[in-house]
Amino acid sequence: MNIFCILIVPVVLAVLPAVIKRPKTLGVLNAVGYLLVLLGFSWFILKATLPVSFFKLFYIDSLSAFFIFTISIVTFATALFSIDYIERDVTSLLISRNRARAYYTLFNLFSLSMFLVPMATNLAMVWVAIEMTTLTSAFLVGFYNTKASVEAAWKYIIICSVGIIFALFGTIIFYYAASNVGVKSLNWLDMVSAGKGMDKNLIKIAFLFILVGYGTKAGLAPMHTWLPDAHSQAISPISALLSGVLLKIAIYAILRFAVITNKCVGVEFSSKLFVMFGLVSLGISAGFIIIQKHMKRLLAYHSIEHMGIISLGLGFGGVIGAYGALFHVLNHAVTKSLMFFGAANIIKKYKKDNMNMIKGVISSMPFTGVMFILGMFSLIGMPPFSIFFSELLILMAGFGKGLYLASGLYLFFIVIIFGAVLYHFSNVLFGCKPIDMAVEKECTSVKITFVFLFILMTALGIAMPGFLNRILMSSIAILQGV
């Protein structure tokens, strides 16, 4: 039953700030808690035989296990990173101690809601949980109460709510379709089993609504518009969570519905849609990355690109494509959070976000700089880092399926983005640092965070751990509906 520690830990940590006043202690406890979650869950997926379900409310198969695993990694890293970050915010009087405590509460609520999504059996519950993620994270986006951040938060919450309403509409139609064939339940398994007989037209429309709705949350263009604002204005550790996990959760929800849809109307329908959205996202993000000036916005658009890649992988389909897509989910989560932490450090150090005004990071903050440049190369798909392989897998799937045009465009956009990102960041990283700037000494927790993520992103590139491979394969089996 240790699966419940995942849910209990955030709850406990959420109420903890009421009793403990010192932000630092809170932060440390937070980190420890999420370390427990990570270890506990890894132990769980090593030992337990999936799928497991708990009194009809929670159902964990390999797919959800994989996503929970991703979430727990990123949340742990974020918690670890938050310690020092929040501490420095407090000491530099950017925020009061109470706000710091509020931060920890919100952080835990946010991660709780995110953990809930992959566990829920009931698709409506999935919807509720996702809406909860929006509501909880909205405060974290608007955390600094500046004009910009509140604006971003408003856009975030409104646009996502609209999207989510569409998703609910889709869910309802699914439910209706299911009840037409006599399955009066929103339980995923039942719906899958009923999938064959459902009315094709209904399912198609429903899936469109789902795709647009959750796609809004997942940051697929052209519904991505909230994403750069929210990511860039959110308090930096949270940007990592948003881009690393939140988007993936929406993808998870889409996947669940896609399985039913494929059962009903065949694979072609969903895969075409995925490819289309993927390409559009890639194109739009490429365009915006080229002319981007702000570091965190650039990273945000880069997340859009990666969501596009994932959706392309799902669209290209086949075992290889799906494998690449899921693997990419994990890789992007790890790497992107590393990048956001690096950006956080840099922006804190230079007090500005405009990349034209930042120079010589390598010399001014060696550790962060080195990690940042490695992370950058991982992000734009250089071996031996893991993203290279997932991108290659997806490309392979595309060529294998004979979708030459799509694969060609994919390559083209990747190359353009490669150039743009390299250009922007190499100007930031190298060159001479401001003369009066002291060389940064990162504290241990930050260093541990970076090293942890770096090891992950390299190790995944060099060798695939067996249990992960097993989980991925069985999740693909689930996606293929066997």
Partner: protein
Amino acid sequence: MENFFNIKLSFLFDPLSIFFIFTILAVCLASGVYSIGYLKGKHSSGKITYNWFLFIIFIASMLIVVTVSNAIVFLIAWEIMSLVSYFLVIFDHKEPKSIQAGAIYLIMTHIGTAFITAGFLMMHKYANSFDFISLKEACIAMPSDVKNVVFLFLLVGFGTKSGIVPLHIWLPYAHPQAPSHISSIMSGVMIKTGIYGIIRFIIFILGVDSIWWGVLVLILAGISCLVGVIYALMEHDIKKLLAYHSVENIGIILLGVGCSMVFLELNMPSLAVFSLIAGLYHLINHAVFKGLLFLCAGSVYSATGTRDIEKMGGLIKKMPITAFAFLIGAMAISALPPLNGFVSEWLTLQAFFVASLTGYMAGLKIFFGLCAAMLALTGGLAAACFVKAFGMIFLAMPRSGKIEDAVEAALSMKIAMLFLVFLTFALGLGAGIMFKLLAVVASCSTGINIGAMNFGLNNFMIMPGAVSSISLSTPLIALILGVIIIGVYLGLGNNKSRKYSTWDCGYYKLEPRNEYTATGFSKPFRIAFNFFLLPYRKVEKLRGSLYYIKSFKYETFTTPVFKKYIYYPLIGAVLHTAKFMRRLQPGSIHVYISYIFITILMLIIFMNRF
């Protein structure tokens, strides 16, 4: 993951690979020794260790690239090679120029990699494996139009790495910025991995499918030769000059390779082998003498602190060893007998001659004739360029104060340079033996059995008996030249002579300012090739009065044709689109919501299209 790529870390040590291993090791050994003296005192010890770290990875990755027998591992090693060399290019990471150079280099090479990847994946589609052997087998059954596409992709991909025109633009940026021992490796060896790729993947695995492949390669190669050497003539930054010569020499190598591709298609096996030998021979030669030249340039740079040859002069007295080494390198690259560059260019010319003698297509004959003429022109221009380079750097009087306190390079640097000088001679004089060895390499990479063809019976002369009755013996040439020179010198050399100043046309005294400059030297060429260089001049007159000009400044420039007419428009187009797309995000939430609405509407309307 592995189970999809079925990565087996298997290696392939056929003669081709071994040939490249030797080439790489020879140059890397020299530059490694060189870097000891070159970096000492310039950088902190930490920086030097960092350099060694990268250096080792660089060499290792190159070795893996040329030996591995799995396309995916090849790709990985390829990318790592590019990445490490990028870090070496921006070794001096505070200098904005090196940042820009590094960015251009990595972006260009990544574009190339994208093409290579596409090519590999298309092959993989037919082979369902990335192992070379199974790829080779699969390529036999591949439809020919797919083959053509794959060929073009691979050509563009590897061409970018090896810097054939018009994909060459990164060389003159990256080579000068890297530390000299690195630029000697990059220009000497790394760009050759592109040639390796072409030979391995196009000739060995894909197999030549139609005649226009070879012709296309030949045309590109010819253009590369001329463009490279003409730009080199205009260039006064010594390392940029050498970089442009790399473009030229890659062209010459590809002339051999392309020739052999044509013959493979026309199935004239002996000729195919012969011309591939020519190409490979020039490859290793270029590796050696270009490495040598870059090392010399490096020691000149570290002695004088400038790379501008207009500011040099008279260094032959200050640094005799370097001067000697550079002279040998210059002679080799201008194809003067009996050195190695001469042998390979002679072989290439022979290939063209014999080709057109035994060939049966009239058009091809004339085409080969033109290729030969182009090669000859290139040789002449290269010689002119190196007369300029050597003359301006080492001869006559110093042209600026920078020269005064120049000293001879450190011991390790001298050793490295002399080692390469030795190799230059060895490759020149041991032509017969090399020829035989290369025959084996060529036969393995073309898959032609040369047992029947009596290539190189003799150790002292090249006798391509299979293709023609002529032969060439560099040792004999060296011998005769030596005998005559020494004989004449001993017999008649000692003569009473006295020293006096150069004739100064009755001017008070001859100053460095009267000397002929590099710009002046290259002026005839600038005018002769103005249709391509599009030169323009900037004249600044500072007038005291209407009739009296205080100072007069005259500069001349040449238009970078490829950048101006190919790359800038492309980049401009991309940026323009991006700027246009920016309007999509006006920041108004209402617009954003309407996007969602429109999307869902469109999707529903076109639902049944999906």
